[in-house]
Symmetry: C2
Subunit: 211 residues, 2 copies
Amino acid sequence: MAPGSGSADGTGGMWADVAPDASRRLLLAAVDSFADLGYHGTSTRQIAAAAGMSAGALYVHYRTKADLLFQIALTVHESVLAELEGAVGGVEGHAARVRALMYAFARWHARHHRAARVIQNELGALDAAHARRIAAIRRRVRALVREEVRAGAQAGAFDVADIEGTARAMSSLAIDVCRWYRPEGPRSPEEIGALTAHLSLRMLGARPLPS
Amino acid sequence: MAPGSGSADGTGGMWADVAPDASRRLLLAAVDSFADLGYHGTSTRQIAAAAGMSAGALYVHYRTKADLLFQIALTVHESVLAELEGAVGGVEGHAARVRALMYAFARWHARHHRAARVIQNELGALDAAHARRIAAIRRRVRALVREEVRAGAQAGAFDVADIEGTARAMSSLAIDVCRWYRPEGPRSPEEIGALTAHLSLRMLGARPLPS
C-alpha cells in the first residue's frame, strides 16, 4: 500500500488532519522506516525515498529527523487522549466508564499498533523540549485512568488497595497490545478491547464481579 | 559502572555464566549500545569501544553484530524460562502456583528491564534461523502460563471464559514492566511482582477472591 493512502494497520484516520498531503506521506514513511530500522538507524534520505520524494523536498516540510519523530509522537499521543476522552464522555456509572475507557484504550493500540510501537520504542530519542510536551500528554492519559479507578474505589464500586499501581497495570495492559498485536492474528481490535475491559474490571474487584 | 562488573539494572546474575570475561563485557556493552541507539543504529566498532576493546578483539568473540544480538536474546530468554520453571517447581495449589509464577515473571522484568527492553524492541532484527530458536523458547514461556490457567480453570479454581486471551494478558502485564520500570521509581521489583501476582489472580476470578 502506498504511503499516505491510509494503511494496513488502520492508522489512516489518525493522520487525516495532517496537511498538506506531502507532509502526511512523509510522516507515514517515517513510521515505516523507524519501525523497520529504528530511529537512529534511519536517515532522512531513506524517509524521503520511501515517500517518493527527494531529500530536498523533505526539508520543505520538516527541518530534521527529530522534527519528524516529534510530529509522529504528537499525533499519536493526541489521538490516544482524544479517543479516551471521547470514550467516557457522557457515560455514567463507575464500571461502565472503566469498561468504555479500557475498551477504547486497548482497541486503539491494536488499530494503531505500528505507530504506537515505534513511539514506545523511540520515546528516548526525543529531544528534551519535545519530550516534555509528550510527557505532559502522557500524564493526562495516566490521570484519566487513575481518576476513574480512584472515583470508583472511593464510591465503593471497586475494591482496590493500591489505586496508583492498579491504574498503572491497566494502562500497561492496554499499551502492551501494540507490542504483540498482529493484524493477521485471530482477534480483532474490538475483541481485544472487550477482553481488556473485562479483565480491568476484574482487577478492580468491581461488584458484582463481571462474568 | 564498568561493563562486566554487574550492572545497575541487576542483570549481573544473568550474564555470570558467559565466559570468558571479554565475551561477557561485549554482551553488556552491546545491551547498553542497543538500548541507547537501537540495533540498526549501533556499529560493532561502537560496541567494542564501549567494552574498552578494539574492533579486531570483538571479532575474536562474535563474528557479527547479529551474533551479539542473538546471544543477548538467548541469554535473556533462557533466563526467563529458568526463572519461571524454578518459581513453580514444587508449589502446590492452582492459585499458589499462579502467584509464584506471576511474581517471578514481573520481578524478572523489573530486575532485567534494560536487557529485556532491548530484546522486545529488537526481536524483529534477528535473522530467520535465530528468530526460530528464540520463538521456540517464547512458546515454552507462553505455554507455562497458559497451562497454569487451563489447569486451574478445569479444576474449578479459576473462573475463566477465555483461557488463551487471559493467559496472554497475564504475560503481557508482566512483560510490559520492562517498558516502564525505572530503578529510581517508588516500587521495588518485589513489590511489582507481588502486585502483578495479585492482579493476575483477580483476572482469573480465583476463588476466594484474593484480598
